[in-house]
Symmetry: C2
Subunit: 138 residues, 2 copies
DNA sequence: AGCCAGCTTTACGTTTACGTAAACTTTAAC
DNA sequence: GTTAAAGTTTACGTAAACGTAAAGCTGGCT
């Protein structure tokens, strides 16, 4: 069922757990451009991949505009002039730096969660009269 | 100069590169609660740490509401009942899962950037008549 | 005393990313 | 062939995160 060659809008909406409204909105913003059969949108496997990328970007806190920019990066790689290509490399480096920053940020927040969890378990232990040992972490 | 014990709103605004409007807005949203000298806000080192945490959260795409929730996690760890504490542990686990997902997402996007960069360099090489070798990555 | 820079509140405006409703067409099922 | 389900456009509404402008206090300098 996953090897379909085309998808309807509601199939994709169900699969990615979003509304058809959102999918159409992404099209409005130039992130998707599905085929049409009459009025009806027909999504290809490529379109589906795009949607997956969109969701990924959103989970990383990218705006739709930024995601569109990333798509352009990808699409224009083949067709650019030299100046264009060097510009793209710059932008790629830029995005890479952002991701590196995010990795650092995640590490810090993880430490904070560790700390909060430790305090939490300690407080619990105090409450329950330390009958149970500290539970092993996965 | 970094070892100040208090800060004015514009000092913090300058340091973190945001507007005083934003800082006051964060206070509105319950993320900060600086002292006052008369009308004027006086920020402590703790407040500054909070601001740093806010910026971190934002870079990870967290909403202000989510950040406030994380603050609550941290603050209420000491004072909760057992049920409360277990709930907090659940929320911590939840946030941890989100971060794990983000790590995966970042890894994927990095791969995509790798791919885009490779295509880009290839195209450049083709254009320049491969006089130069592939430049070494840092 | 006068003034300016920096602080304050109040309040309306703006952008992003959709939600929601209305009104209409098209496709699949019975 | 009609009816229900799923699709479409158009358009107004909304929550979040500020921007921006107005109008007023306030502490220090000259």
């Amino acid at each position: 069922m996953n090897n379909q060659t085309t998808y309807s809008i509601s199939e994709l909406a169900t699969e990615f757990d979003l509304t058809t409204r959102s999918i159409r909105f992404y099209e409005d913003q130039g992130l998707l451009s599905p085929q049409r059969r009459g009025q009806t949108r027909i999504y290809s496997r490529q379109d589906r991949v795009r949607l997956k990328l969109i969701m990924r970007g959103k989970r990383l806190g990218f705006s739709l505009a930024e995601i569109r920019e990333l798509f352009s990066l990808w699409d224009e790689t083949a067709s650019g002039s030299e100046k264009q290509l060097r510009l793209l490399l710059d932008k790629i480096a830029e995005k890479r730096a952002e991701l590196d920053q995010q990795l650092k940020d995640i590490a810090m927040v993880q430490l904070e969660l560790d700390s909060a969890e430790a305090r939490c378990r300690e407080a619990l232990n105090d409450l329950t009269g330390q009958k149970q040992q500290i539970s092993a972490d996965s």
